[in-house]
């Protein structure tokens, strides 16, 4: 303790707050699940998981059973012949990929996605990818990343996927003007809103990564500055920095405050003056503020408990506590990236209970003891907690729904108020 009492105490939020690190059963998806939104984002990409029947079953179950008759993802299931060495895994993989590409000639980008079994048997998918890329070039580019549960948690699958793309992004010319890259999969509608805002701010050129088409890969180089649109892109950021790009530190664009600060980070980097910023953002910001205020009546004073899921927990907690007046019983995150989260942590109320990793049984004990008004958790826990009398919000919906930016701020708040309203209605 410092003997000098500071005259003016400045809240640092949770910047240096202690974090409970837990080890035990994790009730989260693995990185393969990212395929469910990534295959819709990059519309001519195909994701081939090299794994087991469990992997195929996971994606099918997490995707909500067969949304598409013939989706742009599949699993090459390793069987006992591959393991016993009766079949050469690489030859088998080549055969499967060849059949797939014959069948789906529209595929321009193929990801070989590693899984727990392929990692454990040390199947070298990067060699396979370069071999197959050579064979199918220039029609199809083949890349690889790992979505295995032993290495990735849920949204980290997107991080691994995007990081695998970074080395093949075209280099930007040394003489090129500064450009902005927005990194992380966003719904098309959100992307379009941000593109309009950046245009009004006079910031450009702006590129989104991942792109909607494989042949629209953004260029990257020392003139590139990037904003992370998602909080789970640690490896992607490192890979972009290795190509000379510079990350703009900012909170994430969730809620009015987060969106403003996120846009402001870009505006400052591009020398946008305050008046222009105000003129460009005021209409959407004010609209969002009043829409969020309507949700506040439902949520203010209510307590919320986050089980770890997507790494969106800390930005969401910041939004819910600062803009909606909720109290934070516990904010669990699968992984806490101190550097990327610095701006967010500073905004969290002091004394917030933070936890990283998971021991699901211990965390359930804490949750039951806290009796929060609403629990954010995965699909495996939601109904059992509802049956115990708690109100829950599925965490996965926060990943699949457009929630970023001004126009979605109230929608995001509504995702939390709806379960509460529903419980009231059903009780009445």
């Amino acid at each position: 303790m410092s003997p000098v009492i500071p005259i003016q105490s400045v809240s640092r939020g949770c910047a240096d707050a202690p974090v409970l690190k837990e080890r035990g059963q994790r009730e989260v998806f693995c990185g393969l699940t990212g395929i469910i939104w990534l295959h819709r984002k990059i519309q001519d990409a195909f994701f081939l998981v090299v794994g087991s029947r469990t992997c195929a079953h996971l994606i099918q179950s997490a995707a909500g059973v067969m949304i598409f008759a013939e989706p742009r993802f599949a699993t090459a299931i390793i069987d006992e012949r591959d393991l016993a060495g009766l079949a050469d895994c690489n030859e088998e993989l080549d055969r499967v990929v060849t059949r797939l590409i014959e069948r789906r000639p529209e595929i321009k980008l193929l990801f070989l996605v590693g899984s727990c079994p392929s990692e454990v048997i040390k199947l070298d998918l990067s060699r396979a990818a370069s071999r197959l890329s050579g064979r199918f070039s220039p029609d199809v580019r083949v890349l690889n990343y790992s979505g295995s549960g032993i290495e990735t948690t849920f949204t980290q699958g997107e991080d691994a996927c995007l990081a695998s793309l970074v080395p093949v992004l075209p280099p930007s010319a040394a003489s090129a003007p500064a450009s902005l890259m927005v990194v992380g999969a966003l719904a098309d509608v959100v992307e379009d809103q941000f593109a309009r805002l950046f245009k009004q701010l006079g910031i450009g050129p702006v590129q989104f990564f991942p792109p909607r088409q494989a042949n629209e890969m953004p260029a990257v180089g020392p003139n590139t500055v990037f904003l992370l649109a998602q909080p789970f892109l640690a490896d992607t950021a490192v890979a972009l920095e290795a190509r000379g790009a510079t990350r703009l530190p900012a909170p994430f664009p969730l809620g009015v405050e987060g969106t403003s600060a996120w846009l402001q980070a870009a505006a400052s980097a591009f020398g946008v003056d305050a008046a222009t910023f105000e003129a460009a953002t005021a209409p959407a910001r004010d609209r969002a503020t009043s829409a969020v205020a309507r949700q506040r009546t439902q949520l203010a004073g209510k307590s919320i408990f986050f089980f770890p899921d997507s790494q969106l927990e800390i930005p969401l907690a910041r939004f819910l506590s600062r803009e909606l007046g909720m109290t934070l019983a516990e904010v669990g995150t699968p992984y806490l990236h101190r550097q990327h989260m610095a701006e967010e942590l500073a905004l969290l109320p002091e004394g917030t209970f933070l936890s990283e990793g998971q021991h699901v049984e211990n965390q359930l004990d804490r949750c039951r003891a806290a009796q929060p008004d609403i629990v954010v958790c995965g699909l495996g826990l939601a109904n059992p907690l509802e049956a115990e009398g708690l109100t829950t919000k599925w965490a996965i919906e926060l990943v699949f729904t457009p929630i970023q930016g001004y126009e979605q701020a109230a929608d995001l708040a509504e995702l939390f108020s709806r379960p509460l309203v529903r419980r009231l209605r059903l009780a009445a």
Partner: protein, 522 residues
């Protein structure tokens, strides 16, 4: 390596979870990486169980692989025992843990827990969910049944007693089938000793030997265990699966024989509306509807029998993804003069359905998707399950009520809200055409103008000598086609085009249309 888009069955450890979740007072410690917990949502979201499955996942990570994953397993097992205090534990590996070869059974033995521990060896790279459920149930029966029990010979007048085997968690209508068949057995004067795995505790499993015979509801899950019970306790098993009116009657006779009771009263009292509905003149239009049946073996064999004998359909194809029961399904297929499709490749099933052009598909949720794409009505008769397969209402597949449910479920997709013969009578009526707004919403829409054929008739005629890849509709034929009721028009169009292409006719005339109708007509 097999390329898979969708799977009919999960991995075998999911089968083991279905047994663990069905039972009481057991806990399954699964050596598995992060992510395998997805399986919990099958039970909490699809089946809407109010409780989490009794499963602990060790959740090992890449950094543990160099270290001591065995210790991780032992800690998880010890903690799970302390927290849940089950009467018995199950231990095993998921696909990834199988590769690191930690031997959960041996590790758990070293913990010296004061309860029975059943070690499961489920080869993930060879086997699938149903096999895993069957093997797990067999191991649980074998390890927990008290073999010193001996059912004393029954005195005259003493009620017979049976076990019901097979109903599990995440089963297709198992919950309701169990209620239906339990009721039927009680009505017959047969006592139920143990129902397993659904609702059975390890203590209940110990009492399995104290019954005269076993009722096997789902052979996929219970056949192997029933075989062991027969060898160990001399208990015979039922062989008929009571799905459909006929099979239910056969089942009643079989049980009556095993229990030494008179089936007459139960058969006479049966609330069997389905056979009467099928006989009623209203159902005439069902005659010889072409159906394709696909699913697990039990439901497919049963559905084919009902389709052929109780609905008057024609079975044009059937198949299963249950390779373990390929023989039974091939035998059933032979009864209908068709070749069984034994495959778990969704694309192969789709190709077969497209080729056979059935008028109704009886299948799983997978076939529902296929049928939707092909524009064929479909009713779901089998797992893999979907949240819709757990209706809030009572909806068994087995017994007489099950037969009633099946009648409704199969006929509804064919009716499309209107009886087909009425549509036939009133075709072209102002209210019955595809452009008409629903009458209950008032106002009719403006009918669309008849679309002129796309290709000029002369040019099509000039090409007539070539073997065409496509047949073009002449104006008259197109007009005639419009007179066919809209709900069969698509099929008429397809059949006519196929007929024309097969015969090298590039211009479809009214004559071609009726030639095709005669060709495909029955």
């Amino acid at each position: 390596m097999q390329l898979t888009l969708w799977t009919y069955e999960g991995p075998p450890h999911v089968g083991a979870m279905r047994i663990a979740t069905a039972m009481k007072d057991v806990h399954y410690v699964l050596h598995a990486p992060q992510g395998d917990t997805y399986a919990d949502l099958l039970f909490t979201m699809i089946e809407r169980n109010a409780k989490r499955p009794p499963v602990t996942y060790t959740t090992f990570q890449a950094r543990d692989l160099g270290g001591d994953t065995a210790e991780l397993f032992k800690n998880a097992a010890r903690e799970a025992y302390e927290r849940f205090k089950p009467q018995a534990m199950m231990v095993g590996s998921s696909c990834t843990a199988e590769l690191i070869q930690d031997d959960p059974g041996g590790l758990c033995k070293a913990l010296d827990l004061p309860v029975p521990v059943v070690a499961l060896e489920l080869p993930s790279y060879q086997r699938k969910e149903n096999w895993g459920a069957s093997e797990t149930f067999y191991q649980m029966v074998r390890n927990l049944a008290d073999t010193s029990l001996k059912r004393a010979p029954r005195d005259a007048g003493q009620r017979a007693r049976c076990n019901i085997l097979g109903p599990a968690a995440l089963g297709f209508r198992h919950r309701d089938d169990l209620r239906e068949i339990s009721g039927l057995l009680r009505e017959m004067g047969v006592d139920i000793n143990v129902t397993a795995p659904l609702g059975a505790s390890p203590a209940d499993m110990a009492r399995l030997g104290d019954a005269d015979f076993n009722v096997v509801l789902y052979p996929e899950i219970a056949n192997v265990a029933a075989g062991w019970l027969k060898r160990t306790f001399g208990q015979p098993s039922t062989r008929t699966v009571p799905i459909g009116s006929g099979a239910t009657r056969d089942f009643i006779h079989e049980v009556a024989e095993l229990a030494g009771v008179d089936p007459a009263a139960v058969l006479a009292n049966a609330e069997a509306r389905a056979p009467w509905y099928a006989k009623s003149v209203d159902s005439t239009y069902l005659t010889s509807k072409r159906v394709f049946v696909f699913g697990d073996a039990t439901h497919v064999v049963a559905a084919a029998r009902i389709a052929a004998q109780e609905m008057g359909f024609t079975v044009v194809g059937l198949g299963t993804y249950s390779r373990e029961f390929a023989r039974e399904v091939r035998e059933a297929a032979a009864l209908y003069g068709v070749e069984a499709l034994i495959s778990d490749d969704y694309l192969e099933v789709e190709a077969r359905i497209a080729e056979l052009q059935p008028e109704l598909v009886l299948g799983s949720q997978m076939e529902r998707h296929i049928a939707k794409r092909l524009g064929v009505p479909c009713a779901v008769i089998s797992a893999p399950v979907h949240v819709q397969d757990f209706p809030a209402r009572y909806s068994p597949q087995m017994g007489f009520e099950g037969a009633n449910v099946l009648f409704d479920t199969w006929v509804h997709p064919l009716m499309m809200g209107l009886e087909e013969h009425l549509i036939g009578m009133f075709r072209g009526d102002a209210e019955f055409h595809e452009d008409a707004a629903p009458s209950h919403l008032g106002g009719a829409m403006t009918p669309k103008a008849v679309v002129a054929p796309v290709a000029p008739v002369e040019q099509a005629a000039a090409n007539e000598t070539l073997t065409p890849q496509e047949a073009t509709w002449g104006l008259d034929a197109e007009k005639e086609l419009r007179k066919i009721p809209f709900f069969v028009r698509g099929k008429a169009r397809r059949n006519t085009e196929r007929f024309a292409i097969d015969r090298g006719v590039s211009l479809i005339t009214v004559e071609t249309l009726y030639d095709a109708k005669a060709h495909y007509g029955r």
